[in-house]
């Protein structure tokens, strides 16, 4: 191509060119930048409390995180050293009991709500109650289990604590699982029915596996929430300075991290207060781990 021709072409191009290059200071662009800046600022502001709490916990409790603290029995009034071992184990056991009860019931209930009879009276009622229950003060779960179980068994116990936690975990699990199961595309279920699946087979082979990430998210968030509960345990598990002792030990008062924090932080001894900080840090880390797991495992596949 000769130079002249290409220049002519260029001129033609310029004439038909659309003004696509915006200026950064021009109205629309400037506004969008300001909005972006504001949202950034607000996001940082919102995460400020979280990070300052984390910072404070690490600063005050970090120093006491060592093997002794994690495993030893809590100290008596003027004792030095000691740890939060029974509380960690107690929390794990009671969250475990709560999960063992609430996960299967919650998922089955969600299947009923999402798949079996979504518009039935029973489903409408259950859904409504679950929603109400999510907004319930957690202390009421403790009072309820106290009235039903602790009074009749005549003792505080890990069982009662676990059941109180189950009551609190149930609505979260039901509602999140129902939501994800409902999002499994109908055409996928149709394909399974078309192959000659019964409804139970469709749920087991298609709906549940497809919605599993979302169900797991709900479960892990419920677990994280339960691990941090204190009020319901106050009325049900109370506290103990010893490790849970075998199966029988589950029928006796049981330690938990949250109650330990509550008890020790109010004591006039530095050692106990330090342990309360350490326990807080451990608790927050446990909750954080479950939240991160929920995010990682909760990626939807469709």
């Amino acid at each position: 191509m000769t130079r002249v021709a290409s220049e002519a072409l260029l001129e033609q191009d310029l004439a038909s060119m659309k003004p696509l290059q915006g200026s950064l200071l021009e109205g629309r662009s400037l506004k969008s930048r300001i909005y972006t800046g504001i949202t950034w600022g607000l996001a940082i502001l919102a995460s400020l409390p979280l990070f300052s709490v984390l910072y404070m916990l690490i600063a005050k409790g970090g120093a006491r995180i060592n093997w002794e603290t994690l495993t030893a029995l809590p100290p008596a009034a003027f004792e030095f050293g000691g740890g939060i071992g029974p509380a960690i184990v107690g929390t794990a056991i009671m969250v475990g009991i709560g999960s063992a009860i609430s996960i299967p019931i919650g998922i089955l209930a969600a299947i009923y709500l999402a798949e079996v009879a979504p518009h039935s009276k029973l489903a409408e009622t259950a859904r409504f109650l679950a929603k109400v229950l999510t907004g319930f003060p957690s202390i009421l779960a403790g009072v309820f289990v106290y009235a039903v179980l602790v009074v009749s068994m005549k003792t505080y116990s890990a069982w009662a604590g676990g059941i109180a936690l189950a009551v609190l975990m149930l609505p979260t699990i039901i509602l999140t699982a129902e939501e994800t199961l409902k999002q499994v595309p109908q055409k996928m279920k149709d394909a399974a029915y078309g192959m000659g699946c019964t409804r139970a087979q469709v749920v087991a082979a298609v709906t549940l596996p497809t919605g599993l990430p979302g169900v797991i998210t709900g479960v892990l968030l419920a677990v994280a929430g339960a691990a941090g509960e204190s009020a319901p345990l106050l009325f049900t598990a109370l506290f103990s300075t010893y490790y849970v002792n075998g199966l029988e030990g589950l029928g006796q008062p049981t330690a938990s991290l949250s109650i330990l924090i509550y008890n020790f932080s109010g004591m006039p001894y530095d050692n106990q207060i330090e342990l309360a900080w350490a326990a807080s840090l451990v608790l927050v880390l446990i909750i954080l781990v479950f939240n991160i797991l929920a995010r990682v495992l909760g990626r939807q596949k469709f």
Partner: protein
């Protein structure tokens, strides 16, 4: 012929047809009231043209439908659709005329829609699949389905194809059957190195072929295919057509298609459905059914001729 004149013609034929229909429907309703058994007899409102007679020995399925409702909406009425053994039966007709509805009635897929109601009979090897004693789940094991929209499961390509085999407790060589199914759906070469990848990671056309592989893996007695090639390129379309021709050697295929050329290429018998809008509703019905050759070369009904002329021009 210009469009208005054509529309006018269709309208007048419809009117004429409806005059017949009206009288017929009244008698139909009377018999309905008198005798519920009329369900199983041939609806007498079906015109001679629609009744395509085949050797009962050769029909795998015989669909005699009086009415199909979605709630109050009458979607399809008065159609006799026999499906012959070892043949491909094509369903053609304008969009919304109820081709999918009729096809899905053949394996009771529509039962999943709560408002769906079927009046009539569909016999499969002599049994009415709408009889109370029939388990629709078992019906669907024998009468497979490929849907209008690709719907692979959210699992690996391999598991998608093996799904039906596992469901039927298949004991033989699973790998071999999966490969065979993928080959016959013309997908094997594209996926043989990534059988563990999710079925959802495939392109739309590949997903549709995966669904075809999934459906043929269990070797269903009858395969219902609802526009299986609408998302495919010409090469894959040819391959799927070859598959259908291969399948009919041992099985039976019912195929909904919007592609007239496809119908002429593969269908042995063609059923033409149309929509009746005369009563405010949009009710589909079978206009004419016959040898594909005859339907396309020498249709008995004016409506069929006009539809085919319109589609080919």
């Amino acid at each position: 012929m210009n469009a208005t004149a054509e529309a006018g013609l269709i309208e007048s034929t419809l009117l004429e047809r409806n005059r017949n229909m009206d009288t017929n429907r009244e008698t139909q309703m009377d018999t309905d009231r008198d005798d519920h058994q009329s369900r199983t007899s041939t609806p007498d409102s079906i015109t001679a043209a629609a009744a395509w007679h085949v050797d009962p020995q050769q029909t795998v399925m015989d669909c005699r439908l009086n009415k199909i409702f979605y709630g109050d909406f009458l979607a399809v009425r008065d159609s006799l659709v026999p499906i012959e053994k070892n043949k491909i039966t094509g369903f053609i007709g304008p969009s919304g005329c109820g081709k999918s509805t009729v096809l899905r009635s053949l394996n009771r897929m529509n039962d999943l829609i709560p408002v769906f109601r079927f009046e009539g009979t569909v016999t499969y090897h002599g049994q009415d699949i709408y009889d109370k004693s029939i388990d629709p789940v078992l019906v669907r094991r024998y009468i497979g389905m490929v849907f209008q929209q690709p719907n692979p499961f959210s699992m690996s390509i391999y598991d998608n194809v093996a799904f039906g085999l596992r469901l039927n407790r298949f004991k033989g060589d699973m790998n071999e059957r999966v490969e065979k199914a993928l080959r016959s759906a013309a997908l094997w070469n594209e996926v043989k190195d990534k059988l563990k990848n999710s079925g959802l990671s495939l392109s739309g056309g590949q997903q549709q072929r995966l669904c075809i592989a999934r459906a043929v893996a269990t070797e269903p007695d009858v395969l219902l295919m609802d526009e299986p090639c609408s998302a495919l390129d010409p090469i894959a379309t040819r391959q799927v057509e070859e598959l259908m021709l291969e399948l009919k050697e041992n099985y039976t295929v019912a195929l909904v298609t919007h592609n007239m050329q496809q119908a002429t290429r593969v269908a042995d018998t063609t059923a033409f459905f149309s929509v009746d809008i005369s009563e405010g509703g949009r009710t589909g019905y079978l206009v004419e059914m016959g040898d594909t050759q005859q339907i396309f070369a020498d249709p008995r009904e004016k409506l069929t001729r006009e539809y085919i002329a319109g589609e080919f021009s």
